[in-house]
Amino acid sequence: MDEVATKIIDILKKHMKEPRDDISLDTALTDLKIESLDLAMIVFDIEDGFGIEIPYNANEEVEAFKTVGSVVDRVKSLIAAKAGSAAKA
């Protein structure tokens, strides 16, 4: 797993009541017993950790938050978008 994934899994573990070590990219967030309030705190930490802003509305079913891998992909694309816009500027 790369640096982004490792960092995200560390953040997830921080917010889990019972952190576990078998988290992979395929793990569904629901399997980690992460609920909406936990997710709000996780998004906050990810935003802080990567200096990005994640468009996320707790009222909507968000595909990007289904599995650990989908979160990692979303964060990577936001990092890339940020780098792209910074390069243009």
């Binding site: 009541k17 309030l37 709000a40 705190m41 998004v43 906050f44 935003e47 802003e53």
Partner: protein, 414 residues
């Protein structure tokens, strides 16, 4: 039937407090008996340009240790400090009551826990983050920490309360209104059990500045009814009761601590800070009538007694207005002289002081009362508490805005 419901008596089976002079009922009552002061040097945040440098703060409060056994509410340790206080006090009260929570019918329970100002400390932190530190966002739990109903919700979740759950808000009368409303719900048959009281934790830079600007804080100490009194001292804490219908408590063989006999309320409807004699008088009179008692039946009165120039003289006039000549024989004290002014939580903490006075046959003192102030000529139990058989006790709460609420406690029904 409505007539049966109207006859329901309401008893107290549990109590809990968090105060600067004790964070359990036993610790608090021992300190009251000893006349201990909870006022200390202000601390815990940068004092910057503050002029008032004292408060009655709860220092070294280990919320994690006191809340770690909570089962249903998983995030209370992440809540605002005012919710921690409420959680700890409610936990003590429920444990003392011996109730199995949730009730078999959870809709027959209520949780009414007020707060004068909710999570003000969280508010200040969030605004500092945004406006001074230019952070990109507030902490995700900010909103939930701030709302004035979060203590009621946290406690309601932990104890599985599914009936009426909300907060009251009436500044320094908040807890008394909460307890009074809960009493009415039980009396009227809406619920059988209620967790009721209030919690407050607002001591921070902004709150101190706001109170300072109102010029009602003392730089020296809280000396109710004393000549040297020069303002109140901000405190913090929680006071929570478990109330039950007498039948419900009796049926489960509960230890009944007291009966909540009377509740009175009246609003001055006149001024935000200048109290009337009439409003507090009517509230006390109504509470007496509601309790079916005469003024002479009350042995102890826990005064609102804030140590402001206006309150203490006005409260004394109102007491004389209601109790007439007997006012001079009545044992009166302001426990705020010891635990400071915990704003909305005051009436809850002071209700516990009243019940302990009845149980223990001991009335707590007004400390710092070396020389009485002009117009303050009643027996305020100066400096040292004393043994006294207390059958009935009254607790006064008079708030900014002229919002008055009074409770009367009596012995467990025979």
């Amino acid at each position: 039937m409505a007539s049966d419901k109207a006859a329901r008596r309401v008893v107290v089976t549990g109590m809990g407090v968090v105060t600067p002079i004790g964070t359990t009922v036993d610790e608090f009552w021992q300190a009251c008996k000893e006349g201990k002061s909870g006022v200390s040097e202000l601390g815990g945040f940068p004092l910057e340009d503050l002029k008032i440098l004292i408060a009655a703060q709860i220092k070294n409060f280990d919320h994690k240790a006191r809340l770690k056994h909570f089962k249903r509410d998983r995030i209370i340790t992440l809540a605002d400090r005012y919710s921690w206080f409420a959680g700890v006090a409610a936990d003590e009260a429920v444990k003392m009551s011996g109730l199995e929570m949730p009730l078999a019918d959870p809709y027959r329970s209520a949780c009414i826990i007020g707060s004068g100002a909710g999570g003000l400390v969280t508010f200040e932190t969030a605004y500092r983050d945004l406006f001074i530190l230019n952070k990109r966002a507030t902490h995700p739990l900010t909103l939930l920490r701030i709302i004035g109903s979060s203590a009621a919700a946290h406690v309601g979740i932990e104890f599985g309360v599914k009936g009426p759950t909300f907060a009251t808000c009436s500044a320094c009368s908040t807890a008394t209104h909460a307890i009074g409303i809960a009493r009415d719900y039980i009396r009227d048959g809406v619920v059988d059990v209620a967790i009721a009281g209030a919690s407050e934790s607002v001591i921070n830079y902004g709150t101190m500045k706001a109170w300072q600007a109102l010029h009602v804080l003392s730089p020296e100490g809280c000396f109710p009814f004393a000549k040297k009194r020069n303002g109140t001292v901000l405190g913090e804490g929680a006071g929570i009761l478990v109330l039950e219908s007498y039948e419900h408590a009796k049926a489960r063989g509960a230890t009944i601590l007291a009966e909540l006999r009377g509740y009175g309320m009246a609003s001055d409807s006149q001024d935000m800070v200048k109290p009337t004699v009439e409003g507090p008088s009517v509230a006390m009179q109504d509470a007496l009538e509601d309790a079916g008692l005469k003024p002479e039946d009350i042995q102890y009165l826990n005064a609102h007694g804030t140590a402001t120039a206006d309150n203490d003289i006005n409260e004394t006039k109102a007491i004389k207005n209601v109790f007439k000549d007997y006012a001079y024989k009545l044992a009166i004290s302001s426990t705020k002289s010891m635990h400071g002014h915990p704003l909305g939580a005051g009436g809850g903490i002071e209700a516990v002081a009243c019940i302990k006075a009845m149980q223990d046959g001991f009335v707590p003192p007004t400390i710092g009362l070396d020389e009485p102030g002009e117009g303050c000529d009643l027996d305020y139990i100066p400096n040292e508490g004393r043994k006294l058989d207390v059958t009935y006790a009254m607790s006064n709460s008079f708030a900014f805005g002229g919002l008055n609420a009074v409770l009367v406690f009596g012995p467990p029904p025979a």
